[in-house]
Amino acid sequence: MKNQQYIYKEDNLIDSEPNKFKTGELKSEEMIINLGPQHPSTHGVLRLEVLSDGEIIKDVVPHIGYLHRCFEKHAESLPYNQVIPFVDRMDYVAAMNSEHAYAMGVERMLGIADQIPKRVEYIRVLMAEINRIASHLIAVGTYGLDLGAFTPFFWIMRDREHILRLLEWASGARMLYNYIWIGGLFYDLPVGFEQRCREFITFFKPKVGELEKLLINNKIFIDRTANVGVLPLNLAINSGVTGPMLRGSGLRFDLRRVDGYSVYPELEFEVPIGEGKMGKVGDCWDRTWVRVKEIYESLRIMDQCLNKLEGEHKRTREFDPQAIVPKKIRPKAQEFYVRAENPKGELGFYFRADGKSDIPFRCKARACSFVNLSILPEISRGVLIADLIAILGSIDIVLGEVDR
């Protein structure tokens, strides 16, 4: 008994995560199909309870929480600066963006947001945009994999490797960086980073074109995704959906433009929206297409950031990215909600500071994947089971962020 790790009983699973639909109450033509939690097309540990009538889906109930790592509980027992590594682990394919949002929120609470040097801001935006490309690549690549297109995934992983190497060079880690600190950065860019970034841009631009030819404009891909999982705009707004999903439904809404945080007002970029080129506005194809277009825009932003980092805000001997990193982070008593545009949508942090301690009284993360996933039952009623996989892939969830 002492050495036993887990006492297995058949009822354990039924007690801990019971199905919503009871087998006794089903009609004779209905059945429950269980998908996941260990299934490659659920992108992690998501379990879907599917109520189906043959091939047609009547209802979907997502069961989440398999990757719950108590982010909010941890944040309530750690000083503000030590929460950043936990923020990384929420959306682990776009950690820089989450760090950026978190650091920005705490800086605004401390009132030092306008003292951050321009060079630091440009490096942050550069890093966030590189990471946004990596995140969108994962989204599009694994989406192809879900629909049976194997090659694009390998091509994308090959290109993404260059991004991870760049980020590793700057921060020391491939995916979980802890690079953006409150009030500054962990370190200045390594010497020669700008040059390598430019080489990456020239290398990568034609590859996105190849990706478009290979996957996005592929006839099979269009047949599988166009007119599937149409998300009307009013439902999208009412359900709190943000990011490429909302833009795919046809609303030009990007927090980088709307809020204009950091140095985004100084940069030129377009906000692509779904136009229903292959089917209706807001279908799975539109969402994927918006992501590919955003990769181009991110490359544009990177280019402008590099111009600034090599010109106006050049590296100098005196520049210290940790110059105004506060020794003690103790915001005044206040409530603060900060939001930023992550690759998957609006990432929000709600802080409650009591003014007496270095530890947040309450820190809530409004995760974009969590809210976006809640739309799944609404748009997948009445579709085929194969289309459910297509819809789920187009939502682009990261289970680390859904469960936090």
Binding site: Y6, S16, K73, N238, S239, V241, A333, F336, G348, K364
Partner: protein, 161 residues
């Protein structure tokens, strides 16, 4: 911004007969709402063409600890056409906290409210599907309450922190 704040305040005053109290030091600007007035106020803020808060970004639960004896639910609303943000706060007692659900107005409230129920044990009246969402269904206690003590064992597995 102060114009907008005044506009919003007057709008809220029109809708509720109750006294409106501002939340001190809150970004975005917010007001404290009585539990009973919440649903009608939200409905008005959503429908009224002058405010039109069409998006519910976030719902947060806060436990103020056993000494103060209160819990809070905070709603962050956003209006896309007006680019306005507003926070609404509801104060609840720590014993049997319950508040009206806003799922009938904003669908995004569904999972956000379930999460608060899961973490704080705050009930939501007329919620269509109030079950635990992140924790297992047979988990005991509400983890984000300040006086929460986790159990030593869950199914024979020692819980270590």
């Amino acid at each position: 911004m102060s114009d907008r704040k005044a506009e919003l305040l007057s709008l809220i005053r029109q809708v509720t007969s109750e006294e409106v109290i501002e939340i001190p030091n809150s970004t975005p600007f917010g007001v404290v709402v009585k539990q009973e007035a919440l649903l009608s106020l939200c409905d008005q803020l959503h429908k009224n063409p002058a405010s039109y808060f069409d998006m519910l970004s976030c719902i947060t639960g806060v436990d103020n600890g056993p000494e103060s004896g209160t819990m809070e639910v905070i709603y962050h609303l956003y209006s896309i056409p007006f680019n306005n943000s507003l926070a609404l706060k509801v104060l609840l007692p720590r014993e049997n906290p319950e508040v009206e659900s806003v799922v009938s107005i904003w669908k995004s409230a569904n999972w956000l409210e379930r999460e608060i129920y899961d973490m704080f044990g705050i009930g939501f009246k007329n919620h269509p599907d109030l079950r635990r969402i992140l924790m297992p269904a047979d988990w005991k206690g509400y983890p984000l309450r300040k006086d929460y003590k986790h159990e030593e064992y869950y199914r024979g597995v020692k819980i270590e922190y």
